[in-house]
Symmetry: C2
Amino acid sequence: MNELIKAEVITIGDEILFGQITDTNTQWIGAQLTDMGIRPSWKTSVGDNKQDILNAFSEASKRVRVVIVTGGLGPTKDDITKYTFCEYFGSELKIHEEALAFITDFFEKRGRAMTALNTQQAALPTNATYIPNRWGTAPGMWFEKDDIIYVSLPGVPYEMKNLMEHEILPRLKERFRGNIIKHKVVKTIGIGESFLAEKISDWEDSLPSHIKLAYLPHFGQVRLRLTATGSDETRLDHELEELVASLLPYIETYVFGFDQDEMETVIGKLLYEQQATMGIAESCTGGFISHRITANSGSSLFFKGAVVSYSNDVKRTQLSVKEETLQAFGAVSEQTAIEMAEGAREALGATFAIATTGIAGPDGGTEEKPVGTIWVACASPSGTKTQLLQLKSSRKINIEMTSSYALNLLRKSIIDHYQALV
Amino acid sequence: MNELIKAEVITIGDEILFGQITDTNTQWIGAQLTDMGIRPSWKTSVGDNKQDILNAFSEASKRVRVVIVTGGLGPTKDDITKYTFCEYFGSELKIHEEALAFITDFFEKRGRAMTALNTQQAALPTNATYIPNRWGTAPGMWFEKDDIIYVSLPGVPYEMKNLMEHEILPRLKERFRGNIIKHKVVKTIGIGESFLAEKISDWEDSLPSHIKLAYLPHFGQVRLRLTATGSDETRLDHELEELVASLLPYIETYVFGFDQDEMETVIGKLLYEQQATMGIAESCTGGFISHRITANSGSSLFFKGAVVSYSNDVKRTQLSVKEETLQAFGAVSEQTAIEMAEGAREALGATFAIATTGIAGPDGGTEEKPVGTIWVACASPSGTKTQLLQLKSSRKINIEMTSSYALNLLRKSIIDHYQALV
């Protein structure tokens, strides 16, 4: 079998349309389906409105083989997904004994009282295959009609992800074998999309037709994603490897990683290999770099800690920045960045330390130092390096970009230091 | 005029379907449209595929008056939105002189070289109204056909938002007057969705039909959103106020804010009113609480800084946690949390300080202290309070929830301290 299996993800809920919550589910589902060779080809969000949901089901059934529906399964009155499935399939709701036992047990184990609303969560459309949810109280459901699969999952990300991972993806893998989509991502930092495109234009023109290239800019980084489709996994892998090898000479200095590599995990690996550690002094990034590092399990192996020195007091007392330096050059200066990095390296007992100080905006800019003026520094056993950033985005994005540039300075400092020792 | 104007947001790009980037645009657009009384009623994502894009345009035209399209306007070869608009409208691409002058100027001002690909960005469909983009190189476009408005914007969030705010929303406001949708959001923490629903069941049943209630759970918080539709803004505001006033007695102890209030801004306001300050000692939250606080401009008025004490060394040297305490009770203990909070209050010179220490997971749990065992503490001028959390989610969500509970403990400590002084 080498047919392209297409999927659509439908999310249900006014809160997503109205912009009141962030939808992280569909991104995750898209990535999971892609990885297993099913092509996510359409995504729909509709509100808590029966007619719209019915239309969404019916439109999806015309273009894809697999429809993944999330949301609208909660215990409250605005959740109408189950009723709508009944209408769509012409079935009816009935208490499912296994589901009821499961929910009862779920509440007992947690010592929590069960409400009448929770009992109703055990009612399922009569044509549904029951998918037990060990992570919450709304069961998953699997329907098939006219050779199309419909899967219904709760919208709570934790429950949805566990149900997908442990129940739905294995069933889909079993059903559809032989469709291969392979990806290879090359991650760059420090060069804009157009300039990158110019540099690799000849290479891009030489790509075979079954391999597509996409540019994915993201806060100062540009990811290059190659997508290959075919039926022979080994051959696709080999082709992608060769293409990446022929791409690298054009852009090597900008590449920091591949595929699942993130700046923070690349750094973690470099430090761990050298049994070295890092620390951070954060002013304008306000803890965000530490958060990026510690979001990864295992970071305690190389991350000593950080000082978020939002006030000048804290810069002096915790990082030993000199009063004279702050007076003479100001908090946003190369000199202060250097003393922060070196002070953090000392205070936190780390092999390497980075520092950020600047004006993230939207307030606080002056003519001499406009919003977006940011100094980053990296102190290492072989000296301290600095970089001046002049960013032009919103506070949030300035913080994001500064964190990436500071981590990239650290990455280069680690590589340089240990290369010099060889 | 009191017709309900519906809108659809269409995003274009394989990278969104494949789950390789997070789509934050549609959430933001949804919120903006909602605020101005246009109802976002459908959301579609399609890939970089001409036929799918054409189908998406055509389906949207059957159900909404306003279609906002983002993405696919970049300079590279996978960006096909403009060509597809030409095919959809039967128009053709032509260099737009004003757009070309703008782009040329954009590059000159930044001292950057312009590529042939950038020149092509000035080519627009002949039936497009040109919307100048002062924030990037891809112009916005406005089309009208059969009484339906189509807006095309770049997918880069910073450019898209500025174009919406300064160019598109004002035009839409001018076009559609008199449709009022008003929202009121009540934000709770520390009570689950079902229990909240039980508590307010009578109140919920008494809601008039033009006012809808939604439950929006979000990392230990549940937001209650009331949506009122009508034509008389003052009357709707008044109705919503009365409904909230009659709701509060049922759930007052769980409510921390309303509407745009976030835990961090509520705290900032409380501290600023008292001319008080805060500091943080973060272990398992790894800088995330500091990031939440400093994500808001103006936080330097009350936030002194933080120590991210990921190693025991840093707990001792920067926060004066006693070696005996770590030996006797371990890093994850009430005693360590207390010493961290009190140490941070002292070291950072803050009126209040919170501390977190625990096992965020997925590794590091023991039988006695399983993953999700987390202590939070808040040191204040009137003493130190602690709270034990036993969380059951992923690392990311455990960190999110801990940050909210720690900030809520701080919020209560501030209120208690100044109330005791009165």
